[in-house]
Symmetry: D2
Subunit: 379 residues, 4 copies
């Protein structure tokens, strides 16, 4: 085997996500960045490439040029997969074109602007057999995997109640000025019909789904748009019901003054419950009907074996956002290497195109419910 | 002046609330228990009285007997006020009769089973000029008072978002068996139309109101009834909207497996936010748009003066549930002593009959919304 | 039975400890304050008495007058025990005189200024058979009792290591001005040979002893005296060795800037360990060699039965400093009532005159070691 | 510029530190691993190299072979620096040989077995002008850097007291069996005169030095050796005095049952104090004499500019052990690149050969003090 070769769409100088994807993909030595269409101009793309020690000829002007030109390179040289980390409205086209040219895809969330686009990618993935990873990075956290294992194993009993919130404060102070910083996130033509729904709500929804494995069947949403001239939601509360009868509520906000990145979930079963907070990501709290509360840690006692494998360092040494992100890349890369070597890898553990479609449906259902004064909408 | 004389309705041997009210009222040396109708039989009432070193002749068979007989005692001997801590359906009658006989009242929450009963008490209080304290004890916490002072003083800016939850797990394991332990709480004829709504939801509602001073105008509720044959809610999620445009959500549960008494609130303004958790009651966390997070403590730095007065011990020494409860009694007693001495006490700080009526309205609105599949209902 | 009658020495208006002892002793309805020599003048003593609704004739000018006059009252009226809460140098005389006149004693710590004085009291207690409680109040905490039960029951295996610290910051800012506030604590003639040693070090020492039951055999101390003209220690670190071979260290300070009342202990055994912090007093953390960390709570799961009895409220409701203090009074009162009724009470749980002598020995050993440049000194 | 080329000594399959150094050095895309002498045999070394996708010819049998053969490669191909991550007794020789052959060095701690060896390296570094980084990785934590900046900037006032502990439990259960797992750590010929002193004590000492910049002048140590036949310390408590008059204490243990990796420090000044815990590495708590406690976060409000640069992700996203470790590599690599490009880099921020010598002196002073029954020994 050899390192996998990655081409990057987006992530030019000044992009936060570019550094994150590069560090996360480099960490485990399984992936090397070989080319990129990093920015909207060739100069900027080359400038980024130079800072990354890439040869100039593999810094492209556009994703179209990159996919076409890389396709023409010999197999031993051309990229193996494309990583798409552009603003929301620029996910669909490069992902589609990559799949059509036989490249595997890693894509940021929300996957697409519309459900139809999402289903198009889903169909393409099914037809081509190519791999598609969606970077719902929080599911890469070791303690999220432990929570999932505990729920799926029945440790908590029957699931009855889910509470999740995702609260940020970066739009609180001066929404209009802040919006100017990341203008595309405030612009429906680039962000889609959802604001905080797309940006953070989908993470919350995916976290519920990843941990419980229970489908959300309907939602009642009350969205907020704080700040002058604000079109997209930047705050909201959502009631939801799950297919097994469990009830839940979700709160999300980008105007929660003072919050940094407070994604947190609680899952209550008939025997016990778990709590996880992203800002305290290496501890999983389990409370029980008949035993004292327990604190689980990534490489600590009584961690499920498959979960322990997701940890890179011995117990007591914190792992964080980049390591969780790297778990998406590592699991995707391991899967892809297995495929390339003709091996079977049972149950690869990373979010896929199906999670992407579900996320877009979630956004649309919430927007519809909000328009109907919080009426219940099926998902 | 002298110690105030208290008569107690309810609180017999085996009652949890009896001990709480007695310890809370005794702590500050302003109140002495002089008589009681503690239980449903004279023997039991006398047994309780004996354990409390009360004379047998002031242990009564019923609240009716107590109020009548105490009324006939000379002024220097008879009780000054009645404390009502019976199950929900037995609040109205003794409170009403006490007021009608000229006794001040301390009453447990929810105040009454119906709004009409609540309004009757409200009218009586207005007409008689007697004092009426409702034991929404959590508002007695020093850090809740600091939160209130900060919000009211504008420290957080304009309030935009409120999150509150009250989660307990004692009904989680075997609801039916648990119900047997406190049968009246599962019986609508004794508990009223709300289960967890009445028991804990009203505390959450009162906490929002006490801290923010902003009226909840409408609510959309999705209630749960977990357990075989369960009639009253023991779980639920509620969206709410406030008169200033702020949005909120409330989650409450008595089947949240493993939770002990997790009442928690977050209030977000345009400049900053506060967080308080009852289980960690001596810390108030404030997060700011432009400064590092701060932790306030009861007798610590930068506490508002009127708040510091609510603390009984120097900084670093925890105060808890009983001290918060005692603050209701202490503020009520100070008010009553002032009245008895013909003094004015500006703005006495304890929940009143008005909070009681509001609480019952909250219960009815939530039940109505739930029946209408979570439609918005005005409060 | 009847309520026990308490006479108080010290605790006049302006005294912090007066309010604490009164609230703690009143909480459980077993003790009533009947008389006091609260201050150094009769006027002040009477002023305090009036604010407590005491009759003027039982507010005395001095402890001598109080003990003599109360001795002459009929048995059904005179006080049962004396509570001594004066500055350190005024513990010995009233405690001795009370014992000599047949009154039981509750006394603040450190018990006496010298070991000889302590031994005199110890001898008197033995001879008279009277009860003597020392208010090492932190041992009244429910989770401290759980720690003790776990250690004594062998849950942690063989004890190998103890870490304890008691850090306050109230002398940090301007030691000399602060010293002016509590002048007697900075004055060796009133405070004794130890400053922070006496004030907080003895609490730390008693906590180690109470939880582990293992004797400290020798100590090596390095004391600090921060601030101009400071005579007594207000900072220090102490190595210690225990009779079973375990090693420990203690850090104490009153110049630990920003600390409120950070008393904390960790006890490590061969199977597991426990951690308790006074400022987070209702949680006991247990870490295990072969199981996930557990959090114990006062009325929570798996609490030892005798420990649960020390809690006054149901799980999830914080108890604090006053409740812990009240446990000293409640256990003392229950013991005294049992004695008065001719019953046996097995193993009453409160610190006694023996703990008092041990505390004074601890102070002297630390001071001696410090003078010898931290040489080991036997305790 | 180009990526820096690293050769690795140690870190073969099964080595924990191998993966750590590789992930930490790869994260920022500034360093690529080009060769290694990973294990004690050529087969094993090649097996490791294969798993890392290295060419077979650059997997060497020994560090000697690696340094010699790499020296002979053309400049555009040969390694730039050597990373030494073998057991303690195998640091000195490869580091010395690398320096003698003109290679820069990254080296694990403790740097050498003896002070003489350390001084030899120190002299070589001075003579050759080559760069030498010591991987005291905990100083790479963003909040440690903030603590350092605050102390150095005088925010805390004059430093008076330092408390540090480093507690692990992995030797608690069955010391002898555990020792078998990492035999070299229990063997003085490989580990040196210190056990826990070398392994974790040096980290604690370096943390004190890094944050405060104040020299420890003397120490009094009481070391423990728990477990049958144990020769080296695995527990201990140390008093220390600093050159400015501040006092401190250090506790360290590898038999602290249940602890994972509890490195924690508190620094008290005249105005305020800071607290940092490695297991909660992204929060720095500051307590003040005259303001409420604050919590600082890596990319949060009021972080010093040079500190913020050490963070890789936006606020609220945890960074951990690997990121801190990567900061050593990143700062070393940036320094080396600057040197290679003939630029000056003011104050490169990573531990150097001087910290290494200091660490070995610390070990020897503690061992000497312990032998002298905890007498004070100059450092």
């Amino acid at each position: 085997m050899r390192k996998l070769r990655m081409g990057m769409v987006g992530g030019g100088i000044g992009s936060f996500m570019g550094g994150v994807h590069r560090k996360a993909s480099a960490m485990d030595g399984m992936v090397e960045l070989v080319c990129g269409a990093f920015s909207s101009t060739l100069e900027k793309s080359r400038e980024t490439g130079k800072s990354l020690f890439l040869p100039e000829e593999r810094c492209y002007e556009s994703f179209r040029e990159m996919i076409e030109r890389e396709s023409e390179l010999p197999e031993g040289e051309r990229m193996d997969f494309v990583s798409v980390l552009t603003p929301n409205h620029l996910h669909f086209e490069p992902a589609k074109m990559a799949l059509e040219h036989g490249f595997h895809v890693v894509c940021d969330k929300p996957m697409t602007l519309t459900v139809a686009e999402g289903e198009t990618l889903q169909k393409l993935v099914k037809e081509t057999g190519l791999l598609f990873a969606l970077t719902h990075n929080y599911t890469g956290n070791v303690m999220v995997k432990q929570a999932r294992a505990m729920v799926r194993n029945g440790d908590l009993g029957e699931i009855r109640k889910v509470q999740v919130h995702y609260l940020q404060g970066w739009m609180a102070a001066e929404p209009d000025e802040q919006a100017a910083i990341k203008p595309w996130r405030a612009d429906p033509s680039k962000s889609g019909v959802g604001g905080s729904l797309a940006d953070i709500g989908t993470h919350a929804e995916n976290l519920v789904s990843y941990i419980t494995g229970i489908k959300i069947t309907e939602m009642a949403a009350d969205l907020g748009r704080i700040g002058q001239g604000r079109v997209l939601d930047n705050d909201g509360n959502i009631l939801f019901r799950m297919e097994n009868g469990a009830k839940g509520c979700m709160s999300m906000s980008q105007i929660a003054a003072g919050e940094e990145n407070d994604l947190a979930i609680r899952v209550y079963g008939s025997k016990g419950s778990i709590q996880w907070k992203q800002e305290d990501s290496t501890r999983l709290y389990a409370k029980w009907v008949d035993r004292p509360e327990q604190t689980f840690t990534p490489d600590g006692n009584d961690i499920y074996d498959q979960v322990r494998a997701a940890s890179r360092v011995p117990k007591g040494h914190p792992e964080g956002y980049l390591e969780a992100f790297a778990n998406i890349y590592r699991n995707f890369a391991a899967h892809l290497m297995a495929v390339m070597e003709g091996k079977e890898l049972p149950d690869p553990d990373y979010p896929t195109v199906n999670d992407g479609v579900q996320g877009v449906r979630f956004i649309y259902a919430a927007v519809e419910s909000d328009k109907k004064n919080s009426a219940w909408v099926s998902l």
